[in-house]
Amino acid sequence: MFWSFIPYQDELMATADNTANQKPVCLQRREFRSLAATRFREWFILAALACCTLFTVLITVTIVCLLVGQTFQFFSMPETSITDFLFGLKWSPTLGNEKLFGIWPLICGTMLVTVIAMLVALPLGLVTAIYLSEYAPQRLRNVLKPILELLAGIPTVVYGFFALVVITPALQAVGLQVDFYNAISAGIAVGILCLPTVASLSEDALRAVPRRLREAAYGLGGTKFDVSLKVVVPAALSGIISAFLLAAARAIGETMIVAMAAGALAKLTFDPRQQIQTMTGHMASTATGDISNFDVRYYSIYAVALVLFFITLSLTVIGNIVRRRFQEAYD
């Protein structure tokens, strides 16, 4: 061979062979536990944990497949058609012989409640967030934040009861001619429900604004009010918008408050004093009946749920994207 001129080559090769086949001398007499069991355990646990994670994907896939599949079932029924559903202006699944399935009255009711809720939650939540992040002393913050969290933990039926027993009579006492069930009291209760979401997410966004921006604004002679409103809030705007979107998604999906306080009559109206029905309200009122009854009314909840799922999912996705982009901006 061409490298055979290397001196001591044979000896070198011999030692190399030996070391390849044998353990070092110091380890030759020891017996080692096989690593196979450990490797298998690691692999097995990793697989089990991956299965747990895949379960979350399964939930999403099942929701989408179920809603789409059952909605097809709904549209294959003789009483329904896609055009009526998407463009119809009347929703009356139970009353009379003619059953009408036009989604717009439900969407209109949902939007009415959501807009009122956001009108309550956004200003109050934003002011709370600005106070907590810019003005409140540390000690007060430590007290106020848990109270805000406690507000977020109150069950929705309690808010519904509150709307029914406190808000509606209060509105009537003020002089508004509201029905017993009405959109405005439900909307206000949903707004109170969304307040902690808006406040805590906006506060996170405000606190994430770097200190140097504030210092610069103070250096230019700004007052605390100027700095908070003209520097910090615009800098955290994307976070605030995402908080708003996530809270709106929550308001749209809220069920118990509207089922209790908003009524059960689907109609196309923009008058918040009347009783309305939301998408979730329709589902809840159907569920109080018998579920094993597979009629057209039963399948209608899937079609409505698909619309609801689509709206809330898009709001949540946009909200999360906006928040992620904002998080990257100052890091």
Binding site: L46, I63, L67, F161, M260, G319
Partner: protein, 403 residues
Amino acid sequence: MLSIFYQGLPAFNPPQDDIVAELSEIESKLADVVPDSSEARALTAREEELQKLQATINKSFLSKPPAPGSREAGIGPALMGSIWVCVGCSVFFLPLGVGTAVFLEEFKPRNKFLRWLSDMLQLNISNLAGVPSIVYGILGMTVFATMFGLFGSPNDPFFELGTKFKRQYVTEGMQVVFVPVSERDEVPTLSNGMTALKSDGTEVKLNIIGDDDEFPEDDETLNVSLLSDSEGGVVAENAWYSFRLPFGRSVLAASMTLMLVILPVVIISTQEALRAVPTSLRQGAQGLGCTPWQTVRNVTLPAAIPGIMTGCILSMSRAIGEAAPILMISGIVAISMGPQHLMDDFSILPLQIFYWAGQPVNEADPHNFQHVAAGAIIVLLLVLFAFNSVAILLRQIAQKQLS
């Protein structure tokens, strides 16, 4: 399974002896405390106030079943149902939630494609957290409660375990007797002298009156007499281990559905708890030669446990208050006792409140269902307050430990 629908739909159970006895006992107790309602109207405002106070939360309010009258109503079964559903739910969400969070936080891949995949999983979870709970309710109703109708209806399940059937007859003396049968659809042939069970479990010999027979006179015989063509409803008696395949309106279906609702919340809070564990601890373990799982098991998880517990308890308090998904599963049912097994009918506290709050208010009567609903809300809030206090305590422990 003693369920009576609120709207007065006749379920297959006429009032049974023990309930009647219980009700009369409650009535007699109430007679001591609360004066008759005709007298109540004549009471002064002050006394009315006192009456309201007496009728709200006390020991019997916590144990009594819901009743058609607001004075007799209690939250016993609903409270038990809430506890069952919540505990059942935590059995499911704890392993799944913590497992997912550990996988996403502690086994981060280095491969670029896998990293993208794990980002997608994360996005999926945060989107799941935004899905309205009623959509989960519809999912649970279709997948767990009716199982797409694949296994028949819950009233006539495809697969049943630990269930015994009885035919229920009302004798001519207005007594309830049960005749055991082996299958749900089996109709027993009534014959003279066959044994039947009374509701307290004692055996009696039935006296069957045919078309030609004479109608007995004395009460003794009337109590065990049945017309030969009388029809009875099926009553199912479930053992504690009973199981059926479409889960129906059961505790199991409800707890699995609630698990879906709070799983994203649990995952996100557990991830935050794991993220709060200092990296130096993990590096130390790895430096000592720990495998990834050994690091997680012996170092990261023990350090993160208070944080994880906080998240789980807060999620459980959310689960207790959640009503919409359970409404989709069970509808509004009134039951006289809490669930006895996983396949039992149940009601939960928020649904009970929902039902009571929707009851019409009678202006003339100072005591109505709004007061009962308010009492139930106070109990619910007290439970939540206890949960939250424990969570806050644990969080303080966690912060102390890690700082």
